[in-house]
């Protein structure tokens, strides 16, 4: 991992020195363990702020929307797919970007670590697939595979789909996993159980919209939830309003979501709202053989019409 950091710094420095980019967007160490934050570097002498480890789960495509500068952006597999989506949706031009590809081996789920250790976490270090967590009371070691974010553990696109620079050799993609097992489990429930399942899933939601803000797809100048003329959805914590919000938020991501997990990561109460977007991803894959952000020259599923599109839901 430390070689990743060194290579990112070297590439960023070269790009800035050669004036190929005005800025590089990457990560810097957060003020708390496991909370790395996005960082914009504009001068070659500042590149030492950039780091890389398994706490860089935030999706950096979110910081590219409508930018006019030339930008070097650090991108793991999911970020690169969202960058492709951004390019397809005219939110940034390919010529503006130098994509610094990072082959990703998954991000650590800070909630899993927090739940597994007692007391305040002082330091989290990783080496050779092991994560060591130091607290005031001592230290504990976990296998990284066991503390991955759920979306990373079922990820099948770890390597960047577009890149101009690469930080390391591509990693082997995971095979033989079913990314949609959790969605299938819900589909197997009865209607009654499903209604109840989502009631319980969404009950803690405080409508802070962190999921929306963290999402690179959510760039509308005025979000439907903030609109008051007309008011599409109630703004309170009425369970039906909460459900309507999550339903519509997910639907706005249909055929665009890359399951980067930024929404779930940002949620202060830990709701797995990814189940909703994943259902749409699953449908897109099954109905239109579409996965978002894999090719820069293909139009998204909901943007094209084919004579053989499934239409058995129409009477």
């Amino acid at each position: 991992m430390s070689t990743y950091t060194e290579n990112i710094r070297a590439i960023a420095q070269r790009l800035l020195k050669e004036c190929r980019v005005d800025m590089v967007i990457g990560f810097r160490q957060g003020t708390m363990p496991m909370m790395n934050e996005p960082c914009i570097v504009r001068k070659p002498e500042e590149v030492d702020r950039l780091v890389w480890d398994s706490n860089c789960g935030i999706n950096l495509a979110n910081y590219l929307t409508n930018r006019k500068e030339k930008i070097g952006v650090v991108a793991k597999g999911c970020d690169s797919r969202n960058i492709v989506t951004h390019i397809l949706e005219n939110k940034i031009k390919r010529e503006q970007l130098v994509v610094i590809g990072v082959p990703c081996q998954g991000m650590i789920d800070k909630r899993k670590i927090n739940a597994a250790v007692q007391g305040e976490i002082l330091e989290v270090a990783e080496a050779d697939g092991q994560v060591t967590v130091k607290t005031a009371g001592g230290s504990q070691t976990f296998k990284k595979a066991e503390v991955l974010q759920q979306n990373c553990s079922v990820c099948t696109h770890r390597n960047p789909v577009i890149h101009d620079e690469m930080v390391a050799e591509p990693v082997a993609e995971q095979t033989g996993i079913d990314p949609y097992a959790d969605v299938a489990a819900i589909e197997a429930m009865s209607t009654e159980e499903r209604w109840k399942f989502f009631d319980e899933l969404l009950a803690p939601c405080i409508r802070c919209y962190a999921c929306r803000n963290a999402c690179p797809l959510c760039y509308c100048p005025t979000c439907f939830v903030d609109e008051s003329k007309p008011q599409w959805v109630g703004k309170g914590q009425d369970p039906i309003d909460v459900r309507t919000f999550h339903f519509l938020r997910a639907y706005h991501c249909a055929g665009r979501c890359t399951d980067c997990g930024a929404c779930e990561r940002a949620c202060p109460v830990g709701i797995n709202m990814r189940l909703l977007t994943k259902k749409l991803n699953k449908d897109c894959l099954e109905l239109y053989a579409w996965e978002a952000g894999l090719a820069i020259d293909k139009r998204p599923a909901l943007d094209t019409y084919k004579a053989n599109d499934p239409e058995n839901f129409i009477h």
Binding site: E192, K196, F198, G234, F247, K279, D283, I314
Partner: protein
């Protein structure tokens, strides 16, 4: 949309889609009859209905 609503627990027979030309009056009548029958069988909708706030 129908799929996601159903995943969230709305009954499959509650939502219907159809494509009817203004010239297809018989199809329109047929579809409306089918839909009313199916929805009546389910009874009044309780889901995605916002109850009025309870005032003490």
């Amino acid at each position: 949309m129908k799929n996601l609503l159903e995943l969230m627990g709305v009954e499959p027979d509650r939502i219907h889609f159809s494509w009817i030309s203004s010239a297809e009056s018989t199809k329109f009548v047929k579809v409306v009859k089918e839909i009313t029958a199916k929805v009546k069988a389910l009874g009044p909708n309780q889901r995605f209905v916002k109850q009025a706030a309870k005032v003490a």
